[in-house]
């Protein structure tokens, strides 16, 4: 029976059965619970998932039903996706930190009939919008805490569903037959999962991905990076993000490696150290955070340690990347690097939990070249990939020896890339999406007549065949004087400074580039502590004259860097201000994947943008903020505007 079901491995349930048969005893999943790592072998995972699927079918889950998955990375939520797929349903992961209102949109739009959620917090959110999502029949939850007193007519624990399934499988051989038939009935053309885009531009769209394509794409990359069942990943990325579904779900099921779920999002770094993952993926933001913390701790370290750190970072900067790329390096330099590895790089990687990482990827946003080089120079095989939800992630990725900071690599195996006349990157990939759910006109807009997908990003190929992305195609613009202006490019340069958490550049059709800056509370707060600068709030610290001085220094440095690049030299930053509040996804200023929504911000802070251009020294602003529970409040502030130092443009020889 089983053998028949898995004869053609074209769906994830079939792959699960395959893993349970070929490597039953290998760990498939781990979760740190009550301080102890609990492990499930692939055979155990399959048993749980099968029982769960039977339970779901008993609750009336039909083929094609959508099921929302909401919560952090927990085994039972991954099992939920597998069980739903086994029963022929379609999992729809939703961002767990979305406020109830955003969640209601996705739940309603996707027509989900069931929801598998993590805990009371998510149940509360669901219940608060339940009248707007009439389709939801039942909600299953993982953690029972706080839910005992709730009306259970539409609520049930996932554990109970699994137990019911187990009992049904024992009592009724028909239930087993129905499950096997349901798994066997799955085909590669079925929609495997629906991932909602993060909504950088407008409402998020439901990207439908088919099982066969997902598997084709994941197989290519598993082979590309030689992933095997000996690998380990730590699952900490949002379930709803394509990155998590690809790297932790799809690739794990195909390569048979172990998905490790941290105890809570806050403990991910420590849990990573304990597990020693071999395959890692993190958006640039995570690497930025790590570097910031290290730099702060080094500032506080003793004189000798500081001296040693800076000396060996110099050595790493000079030789580290060359050693990693296998380029010729003098013997003495190699020796010196080895000592540095013993004294500095090794311990650093250990602290960050990166010691055992064999393949590391970053994507999601352009990464600052200096940031990228830092991690590579201490010996981390960090590479870049470029992708999007519509492609089921990979469009391009770098090979182990062909890594450069400013590019994202050549096309992934079996992916075809073309640059449109206006500079937009187009691709055709094995994992490419089937369409947007219920929005065929948007699907049509995104596709070219010959079947290529438009990325919306502008880029070009370098001489060595690597793709270089400049910015969103529609964001790249020109200043009044005709100089090319790429906001993201400038923002990324600013964000490399640990003191700057976020930057938003403006300038389309204006006479100069200006920007908003968000200070990093950890880094600047630490500086304030060391320098006896007292402050009562984020707002006060952000407006502090000395903080302005520091940031002005950073802006001047960015201008100096821009001046050296012929393409960008004329779009230096003219004026800037430091925002009085942190940009926040809850206020709609960032997407759930933490990308700035420039247009929205410009509108919301219109008085500040005006002040940047009309030469005034300060401006008043009051903005509405949304708290986590959905209540609203108002923050008002007077923000100072400062002129930046423009660097002389280097004359082309």
């Amino acid at each position: 029976m089983l053998a028949d079901a898995t004869a053609v491995l074209d769906t994830f349930p079939k792959w699960l059965a395959h893993q349970a048969r070929t490597r039953p005893a290998r760990p498939g999943m781990r979760h740190k619970d009550l301080g102890i790592w609990t492990e499930w072998s692939w055979a155990e995972v399959e048993r749980k998932v099968r029982a769960y699927a039977v339970g779901l079918m008993a609750h009336g889950l039909q083929r094609g039903d959508k099921v929302a998955i909401i919560g952090n990375n927990r085994p039972k939520l991954y099992w939920s996706m597998m069980a739903v797929q086994c029963a022929g349903g379609i999992p729809v992961p939703v961002y767990a930190d979305a406020v109830a209102d955003e969640m209601a949109y996705v739940l309603d739009h996707s027509e989900v009939r069931f929801a598998c959620v993590q805990d009371q917090e998510q149940v509360d959110k669901l219940l608060s919008v339940v009248d707007r999502v009439p389709n939801i029949a039942l909600v299953f939850y993982d953690e029972p805490r706080g839910l005992r007193g709730y009306d259970h007519s539409r609520l049930q624990a996932i554990d109970e569903v699994i137990a019911q399934g187990e009992a049904a499988m024992l009592a009724d051989p028909d239930a087993v037959r129905r499950l096997d038939a349901s798994i066997a009935a799955g085909s590669g053309d079925d929609i495997s999962v629906m991932l909602y885009t993060s909504g950088t531009t407008g409402r998020s769209k439901g990207v439908m991905l088919s099982a066969g394509r997902c598997i084709a794409a994941a197989r290519d990359t598993v082979a590309f990076d030689k992933l095997s069942d000996q690998d380990n990943v730590i699952a900490y990325l949002p379930l709803a993000w394509v990155g998590d579904h690809y790297l932790n779900y799809a690739q794990a099921l195909i390569a048979g490696f172990c998905i490790n779920c941290p105890e809570s999002p806050e403990t991910a770094v420590e849990d990573r150290r304990e597990i020693g993952n071999t395959y890692a993926f993190a958006p640039p933001r995570v690497f930025e955070g790590m570097l910031t913390r290290i730099m702060i701790r080094m500032e506080d370290a003793g004189w000798l340690k500081r001296k040693m750190f800076h000396y060996y970072m110099g050595v790493a900067k000079k030789w580290g990347e060359k050693i990693l790329d296998g380029k010729p390096v003098p013997v003495l330099a190699r020796l010196n690097y080895a000592i540095g590895d013993l004294l500095v790089y090794g311990p650093l990687k250990n602290v960050m939990g990166l010691t055992t990482v064999r393949v590391g990827y970053t994507a999601g946003e352009a990464i600052g070249p200096e940031l990228f080089s830092f991690f590579r120079s201490i010996g981390l095989n960090l590479k870049q990939l470029y992708g999007q939800t519509e492609a089921f992630l990979f469009v391009t990725c770098q090979t182990d020896t062909g890594v450069r900071a400013d590019c994202v690599g050549p096309a992934t195996p079996n992916v075809e890339i073309r640059i449109a006349e206006d500079g937009e990157v187009l691709y055709k990939s094995p994992g490419q999406f089937v369409g947007y759910f219920k929005e065929p006109e948007k699907t049509a807009e995104t596709m070219t007549p010959d079947g290529f997908v438009k990325t919306g990003d502008a880029g070009f190929f370098e001489k060595d065949g690597q793709l270089r992305i400049i910015d969103r195609a529609k964001d790249v613009g020109k200043l009044k004087n005709g100089a090319l202006y790429a906001p993201k490019y400038i923002e990324n340069k600013l964000k490399f400074f640990p003191n700057i958490r976020e930057a938003v550049a403006f300038g389309q059709g204006e006479d100069m580039v200006t920007c908003f800056i968000n200070i990093d509370l950890v880094a600047v707060g630490n500086w304030a502590e060391r320098n006896n600068v007292s402050y009562g709030s984020y707002q006060e610290l952000a407006g502090h004259p000395q903080v302005y001085e520091i940031i002005a220094g950073h802006v001047a440095e960015v201008n100096r860097q821009l001046a050296e690049e012929p393409m960008m030299a004329r779009s230096q930053i003219g004026r800037f201000l430091i925002l009085h509040k942190e940009l926040d996804a809850d206020d709609g200023e960032l997407t759930r994947t933490q990308k700035v929504r420039r247009g929205f911000i410009a509108e919301r802070y219109a008085p500040l943008v005006k002040a940047l251009y009309d030469g005034s020294k300060e401006a008043d602003i009051s903005t509405e903020v949304t708290f986590e529970d959905g209540r609203k409040g108002v923050i008002s502030a007077r923000v100072k505007v400062m002129d930046a130092k423009i660097a002389p443009i280097a004359q082309a020889a």
């Binding site: 009550l34 301080g35 805490r145 005992r148 809570s264 529970d629």
Partner: protein, 264 residues
């Protein structure tokens, strides 16, 4: 000692009758009577110096009242030592956090299990034999509390390094580790920001729901008191001026006068 009776939910777990407490000539509490029913959240409120903390200290045996009787689980007493109170299932937290600053969160909560440890001092010193087995059992309990209070990420951090709000949470954890029947909370939300207060409220309600613990709490934030508690007793200058549900107390003229002042 009179053996403790079984108390059904809704019956008085603790009764305070005509209690008066003096420090020399200063009257801290004068002739106060009230009860705490099993399974309820009972708030004690009042302006500064009303005798709220003294009342808690009387309940857990830290102070001995000159007059009056205290009946806990059916056993009436005039005096009780704090360690007896602890062994009878009364746990508390303090207004100014009283943790071992140099010890980790885990160790601090583990301290709350001390009373439940059966193995001899000898085995515990060597961490061997029965002590090892026992520690595993207790560690599990402690880990459940850590999970319950969502403080996994600070498990190994010395509590002295933690922000105030988290220290308060650790202290609650230590009190919970005693598996108390009656939990006394002395200003659990003092000095917290809104978000921390909301978290703490949620934990207090969850404690009641999950463990069925009876809770007596002192709190200044009226919003919190009115939302959380089933019944409220109001003290002023050591006397009881009101007792009832939050709505009754809110409408009570004596309470309004005590809080807002009276025109003289």
């Amino acid at each position: 000692m009179v053996p403790a009776q079984h108390i059904a939910p809704g019956d008085a777990l603790l009764k305070v009758e005509n209690v008066s407490l003096r420090f020399g000539g200063v009257k801290a509490i004068t002739d106060v009577s009230f009860d705490i029913k099993k399974g309820e959240i009972r708030a004690i409120i009042g302006p500064n110096g009303a005798g709220k903390t003294s009342m808690l200290n009387v309940i857990n045996g830290f102070y001995h009242p000159q007059e009056g009787l205290i009946t806990y689980k059916g056993a009436t007493r005039a005096k009780m030592k704090p360690y007896v109170a602890a062994s009878q299932g009364i746990a508390r937290t303090f207004q100014n956090v009283a943790l071992f600053k140099g010890m980790s969160t885990l160790d601090n909560i583990m301290v709350g299990r001390t009373l439940k440890m059966k193995s001899s001092f000898f085995w515990q010193v060597f961490r061997h034999g029965p002590a090892m087995q026992e520690e595993i059992v207790h560690r599990r309990m402690v880990e459940e509390i850590i999970d319950f209070l969502e403080i996994e990420h600070i498990r190994k951090v010395p509590v002295g390094k933690l922000p105030y709000g988290l220290q308060k949470r650790v202290e609650l954890g230590r009190a919970l580790a005693m598996e108390p029947e009656l939990l006394l909370l002395d200003e659990p939300m003092a000095g917290m920001n809104l978000e921390e207060k909301e978290d703490m409220c949620r934990f207090i309600l969850d404690v009641k729901e999950q463990y069925g613990t009876t809770i007596a709490l002192i709190e200044h934030d009226m919003g919190v008191v009115m939302d959380l508690s089933d019944r409220v007793v109001v003290l002023e200058y050591g006397r009881k001026i009101a007792d009832g549900t939050p709505d009754e107390v809110k409408a009570d003229q004596a309470v309004i006068d005590a809080y807002l002042g009276v025109a003289h």
